[in-house]
Symmetry: C2
Subunit: 228 residues, 2 copies
Amino acid sequence: MSSPLSARRSQIIACAVNLANTGGASALSMRALAAALNVRPMTLYYYVPNKAVLLNLIVAEVAEQIAWTSAPESPRDELVSHALDVYQALATNSWIPDVLRASTQAGAPPILVAEPFIASARGLGFAEADAVGLWRATWFLISSQLQSLGINAGTTPTVQAPASAEMAGLAVYVRALIDGMIITTLNSERAEICDLKEGLNPRRKLLHPDVGCQSCSYSRGDPAKPPF
Amino acid sequence: MSSPLSARRSQIIACAVNLANTGGASALSMRALAAALNVRPMTLYYYVPNKAVLLNLIVAEVAEQIAWTSAPESPRDELVSHALDVYQALATNSWIPDVLRASTQAGAPPILVAEPFIASARGLGFAEADAVGLWRATWFLISSQLQSLGINAGTTPTVQAPASAEMAGLAVYVRALIDGMIITTLNSERAEICDLKEGLNPRRKLLHPDVGCQSCSYSRGDPAKPPF
């Protein structure tokens, strides 16, 4: 009890994740957690006010463990792969959909915070609010897909790779959402104008604003050549 | 009992919607519904096997009542307005978010079927599977937004217009998703090439494929002028 609040809370969350890993989401009661921590329920409530908060903390904890895929050559692809990283990390734990459903039912649908996604969106030129909004919409797609997966309550939790067909399906719509936001929100004039001059399909460039023009010799890092 | 299954079911759903309208989602138990219908619970279960099915039927019923906004001059805008029609119809009933959350918790997240949306998407050139997939992803955005609204269990249900800020926020991402799918999935070459020839920003045309080219004299209905 001498450790600060956050340290104690980390301990509690680690214990809760452990409970879910061994017994599934249904094993996650405040009572069972207090017993596993060897504290009285009232003590637990001091750190975690209710089950909805507990479930949100667990989802945040899983997010902490995500190994982010990097695709620095294309900021747009990086956004897509960050989104799929989140889906993959969550879908790997069979009890996560149950936790998301239970949180939603409790009136506190968790929004997992994907800092790398937001940072990449900022790097692509999105304003803070748009970057956050784009992540929120992307998370809606991810979490809805997760919540449409089967119920695992009562069964032995498993850790397995998510179905690749589901991943591929999700990727299509995440990519479309991101592309749509790039096109409608970002000022991508430079790449567009460059491609228009070349008489090219402007789509290719829009989605790779950092690589310069592939047909003319303009490249971002080439100071000798003015942009247009 | 002499009426066919579907007629009896319609009666049951109407009664359930009535229960929700007067007592909120929490008033929707199979027992209370049986009592309101003046039948034994076992009889009710014959028509509606469980509560998850009941909740899905109710959402489908609300969808039946939607007055679809038409925007025939732009198929893309029509898709957007169909999506917002769905959000508006559902958000108007304060108990709908609770019903969606309860369905999700029961492991059967409802996917409201928006036939006009799918028909408009087909008209725009999407293949059947892509039209259905686009609707599903759009529904993920709509239903997640609805489920993030407050819990109304126990409070008196209200019927009121959804907050316009939420509508506007949702519209941004629905529009981006649709635009992204139009650009990445549809073969929009014709409009693009036409605009490229004119040295115009190709985006405008992409999103209004039916109106012909606004700068050259090509119009869809003009047989004297070959497309390109």
